[in-house]
Each structure stands twice: as C-alpha cells, then as structure tokens.
C-alpha cells in the first residue's frame, strides 16, 4: 500500500507539486491522471525516492521513504519515465543486472526472469542485444527488470506510451494480472479511456494539486456527466493536454 501525504516540490519558481495526497491500495489499480506537466512524473519520482519532497511524506507499506529510502525501493517495482536499456546486453542480461542489484538469490532470480519472459511474451528476443529493440520490446524488458524482485507495489509511468494497439491491450491485461495477484498498482496516464477501463480508483492531478480522488463511477456521478471525458474537462477546467 502506498500513502502519499501532502507532497510539495518546487523547481525554482515553479510549484510542480503543491500538496498532493492520496492512497493506493493493495489489490487495486490506481490511476494518476492529468494533463502533460500536471506533476504526475514529479509525484512518482518522489514516491520512488529519486527526488526528495520539500514537504510532506510518502509511506510504502508503512515505511517512511524519508527515513529508509532503501527499504522503500525494495518494496517498489518501478517503470520510470526514462526506460533506457543497456544496448550491448541482451534482454536477459538486462533483467539479471537488476536482479543482482535487488539482491535476488540466483535461483529465485532465474525462475522469476523466465516466468516474466513468458508472461510478457519476450521469448523471441530475450537473447538478442537490446540495440535495435522496438519500443514495445524495450518497454517489456524494462517492466521485466522492474518486477524481477517480486515487488508488492508496482509503479508504472505512462506504461502504454508509444505502444501499438496490440501491445497496449496486452499491457492492460498484464496490469489486471498484477492486481489479481494482490499487488498495489499505481500508474500514470494522460489517456482517459485507459484510466476508465482499468482503474478502481482515479486520482486526477492538475497544476500540481489533486482535483479528484474517486472511483470512475463516483467521478461520473459527482460531475453529473455520463461521459468520462466531459467529466475530466469539467474537473480540470480545460481539455488541454488530455488525449481521448
């Protein structure tokens, strides 16, 4: 479970995140929705301890990230916005590198790696050097290495970004599988359909603040709009930066 309490982050004069609070529960998919530049990636970066918040705190399974960032990272599987692979290593070697860094025992790591390669349908490129991978192959490898240590909490920053239709469908199914395994899944997106289809809970961020934190149904009721897209536009105040 991930609890975020009153996070603030300022870059110079820009208030990127200005008092964000929400909770992502185990066995649920929580969607972080907002237009480009709303503060989604910054919020996630503070969550996975790459950035230190100016104020507020993050609890992952009850552990304060400001107190023990290493323990927090052990409990997180993260697909960051940046998903570069090592081009001169094969997909398997890329995954193994992270397994070793996470301190996963060798046998356990190999078993998980092969399971992920199968689930993510990576078999035909797992032993190729990452140089020249397609966007989909890159994302799959990045997800496999992020989940190699079997984390209870999964953070995905725009996981379907750049994927084709088939790959996007598979990615969504994969997220549902993660939920079915009882994990806490938090992902960010600016694509409304995706959020509407997948999420148990939607956290809408605009201009660094949480403007809604509800189930999709509640969101529709709350705004009085039957169409989710209209609901978003109403909440955010403009349709700018959102994709259908």
């Amino acid at each position: 479970m991930i609890q975020i309490e009153n996070l603030h982050k300022t870059f110079g004069a820009v208030r990127a995140v200005d008092g964000v609070s929400f909770v992502a529960r185990d066995g649920e998919i929580t969607g972080l929705l907002g237009p480009n530049g709303a503060g989604k990636t910054t919020t996630l970066r503070m969550l996975y301890t790459l950035m230190r918040p100016d104020a507020g705190r993050v609890l992952v399974d009850g552990i304060d990230s400001g107190v023990d960032p290493i323990a927090v990272r052990k409990r997180l599987g993260v697909l960051p916005d940046a998903r570069g692979l090592y081009k001169r290593l094969t997909a398997r070697e890329n995954i193994d590198y992270f397994a070793h860094l996470q301190g996963v025992p060798a046998a356990e790591g190999a078993r998980r790696r092969e399971a992920l390669i199968e689930v993510l349908e990576m078999g035909d490129f797992a032993d190729r050097h990452a140089e020249g991978f397609s966007q989909g192959q890159r994302v799959k490898t990045a997800i496999a290495r992020a989940l190699i240590h079997d984390p209870k909490n999964v953070l995905l920053d725009e996981p379907t970004n750049g994927l084709d239709v088939m790959a996007t469908r598979r990615m969504r199914q994969f997220m549902r599988d993660l939920r079915a395994e009882g994990r806490c899944v938090l992902f960010s997106s600016h694509i409304m359909q995706e959020v509407a289809q997948l999420c148990d809970r939607i956290v809408v961020i605009a201009k660094g603040r949480v403007v809604a934190d509800e189930s999709p149904e509640a969101l529709r009721e709350h705004t009085g709009e039957s169409n989710l897209e209209e609901a978003f536009v109403k909440i955010i105040g403009s349709g700018e930066g959102l994709a259908a």
Partner: protein
C-alpha cells in the same frame, strides 16, 4: 553479491563488447605515446647525427677572391655550392641554411695585413639552421686563429700571446642524464595514456547512461549511489590500468628501437623501469577516473562531457611544459603534488637517478589522499537528485 561488484562486473562486461572503448583503451591510448615518441626521437637523432657528420653544403659567393680560405674550409668538411644571385633572398626563402660571401676586396686587405672581411648571411630565428651556421662560424674562426698564429710565429712571437685565457670544458653530464633531458616529455605520455584509456568509459558510464535514459531506472534500485559510483570507478580504473600496462610494455620494447647509443646517451627503459612507473602512476589512475566521472556528472550530455574532458586532458601537460621550460632542482615537496610527482619521479628514473622509498610513499600517500577527496566530491554529486533525471 556486493552491489558495487555487480555494477563493476556489468560495466566491464558491457564495455568489452564496445569496439570504440576497446580500441581507445587498448590500442590508441597506450600505443600513440610510444609510437610518437619513437618517431620524434628517431627524427631528432638522425638529424643531429647528419648535421654533425655530413659535409657542410652551403652556397659561396666570390670563392675566387680567397682560394686559400676556401681550400682551408674544404679541409674542415665544407662543400662549396654554386653561388646564388641574392644571398638575402636565398636565406629568407629557406633555399639555403646560410650563405658565405667573400667580397672582392678580400685579397687586397689580406695582403696589407688588415682584417679581411667575409659575410655570413643567416636567419637566427630559424632554429633548424643553427648547427650549420655555428659550424661555418667555427670553421672560419679556426682558420682565422690558425693564420693569426702563423703570422705571430713569422714575427718571432709565441702564438700563446694572442690567447691569454684557455677554457677547458668539463661536461658532467652522463649518457643517462643527456637522454633524460631529451626525453622529459615521456612522463606526459604515461599520464595521457591513463587519461585516454578511461575517458570513453567515464563519459559513457555517467553522461552516456543519463543520455540513454538508463540512469534513472538504475538509481531506483535499492542501492546507495556511492556504491554504484564505486563499481563504475572500478571499471574505469581497470581499463585505464590496462592501457597503462600496455603503454609501459610498449615503451620497454620501443627503447630497443631508439638509437640513443649513437648520441652517447643511455635510456633506462626496461622492465624494472616499467614496474616503478606503474607504482608511481597508481594514485593518478584513481584520481583521473574520479575526476573524469565528476566532469561527466556535471555535463548535460555525452558531447558536452567529451568537450570538457578534452580540455581537462591539457592539464597534465602543465608540469611537463613547466619543467622543460624552467628546469628546477627536484625538491622533496614535489613528490607530494599529484602530476608533478609523477613527472619528476619518472624523469628521475629515466636519467638513472634513484627515487627513494620515502619519496614513493609520499607520492602514493598524497596522490591517494587527493584521489579520495575527489572521489568524495564525486560521490556527493552522485547522490544529488538532479544527476539521474534525464530530461
């Protein structure tokens, strides 16, 4: 497994697959120094030998005005060339190193017993012609002295009257020390090798990794940044030490191809020398790796890092240039300054002097202390949140 070791092994393995890094670390970096060195030294030596032994071929104008003088010059190894129309133009256009002109009035002055004048045209700003010019002047001087002596004898006087002071030169240089003066640039090649050997790796492992957006995922792992840094520094050091080993070996081999004995010089290039150089260079390996990583961490891109490191490469030239322009006595504190310590230490080894254990200890102690400090600063930068953010 220790996280630093994981990072180290991965970086070494990955970069062994990279041709550019390999060529730089194992071929260009270590071999460019010895190769340039052998070439430069061979050219220098053969030129000096030629100039000292070959006949001095210079144009002479008005040779018929002083046949005895010309004959005396011939005996000293002068080979008169056909006259040129304009001696000034010939020297300026570099057609001749110098031109000797004997005026028409030479014979008349000579017969009267007046000083007879000859003219030597040359350009003192052309360093390459200096040996020729001074040889010509020496020949003329010797002829003048000889003739003057004979004139004194003819008048019943001792030639010693004309030379009240005699200088007896006692050169205290040894074959080794003469070689050392010539080869003072050599320590720089060792530093350069370490620099080039690790440079691509240093750029790639920080600036490159950030540019390829893999630094952020790496830092999400539950590993303290300084542990990641240690692994990366270790990988850089392995490559630069390999460079250094190859370079030292190449110099040992190159020593056999340098005809120093022809110049009466002796170079101390051998396995023992190579080994001592390695020891002296060790702190510099770590220092340069940390410094390169620090620069790469501050750079926004691969290209920027390349530019900065190219400039940084000029810094190690400073002690070499300083010491060759202003040769100073080696004093104890010099062994406490990284770069300078290697310069004076390696030069000392080269000229056959000895470097004491205390001097080596001082060099290693101070070198590693500065390296550790640089490493600490780099670790701080590695821990800052801005480092990993790609965009």
């Amino acid at each position: 497994m220790n996280a630093s070791l994981v990072v180290f092994l991965k970086e070494v393995r990955e970069n062994l697959r990279d041709k550019r890094t390999l060529i730089n670390a194992l071929v260009t970096g270590p071999l460019i120094g010895p190769l340039m060195f052998v070439m430069i030294v061979n050219v220098m030596i053969s030129r000096q030998l030629n100039q000292a032994e070959a006949p001095l071929e210079l144009p002479i104008i008005g040779a018929s005005n002083a046949p005895n003088l010309v004959a005396a010059l011939r005996q000293q190894g002068f080979d008169p060339q056909p006259p040129v129309a304009d001696p000034i133009a010939a020297v300026r256009n570099r057609d001749a190193a110098a031109v000797l002109q004997i005026p028409a009035g030479f014979g008349a002055s000579w017969d009267k017993g007046d000083p007879a004048q000859v003219e030597v045209y040359y350009d003192s700003s052309r360093r390459d012609t200096q040996p020729s010019v001074s040889r010509l002047k020496d020949m003329l001087e010797r002829y003048s002295r000889l003739t003057g002596g004979m004139r004194l004898v003819a008048r019943g006087l001792s030639p010693a009257l004309a030379g009240p002071v005699i200088v007896d030169e006692r050169d205290q240089s040894t074959p080794r020390s003469r070689a050392g003066a010539l080869f003072s640039i050599l320590p720089y090649f060792f530093v350069l090798t370490v620099f080039i050997g690790g440079m691509y790796l240093a750029i790639d492992l920080t600036a490159g990794e950030r540019e390829r957006q893999s630094l952020e995922p790496l830092f999400v792992n539950p590993v303290a940044p300084w542990r990641i840094l240690l692994g990366k520094i270790g990988a850089i050091c392995v490559f630069s030490v390999s460079s250094l080993l190859i370079c030292a070996t190449a110099f040992t081999v190159a020593g056999r191809f340098i005809p120093t004995e022809k110049l009466g010089m002796d170079l101390g290039l051998g396995p023992v020398f190579a080994l001592k150089v390695l020891v002296l260079m060790l702190p510099l390996v770590l220092l340069i790796a940390a410094l390169q990583t620090l620069v790469a961490a501050f750079s926004k891109s691969y290209r920027e890092a390349q530019t900065y490191l190219g400039l940084l490469m000029l810094v190690p030239v400073l002690p070499t240039v300083l010491l060759s322009v202003m040769p100073v006595k080696t004093v104890a504190w010099m062994y406490a300054v990284p770069l300078l310590a290697q310069q004076v230490g390696i030069t000392e080894l080269l000229v056959g002097g000895s470097v004491t254990a205390a001097q080596v200890a001082l060099c290693l102690l101070c070198g590693f202390a500065v390296a550790a400090l640089t490493l600490a600063v780099t670790a701080r930068v590695y821990g800052s949140e801005r480092l990993a953010i790609s965009a």
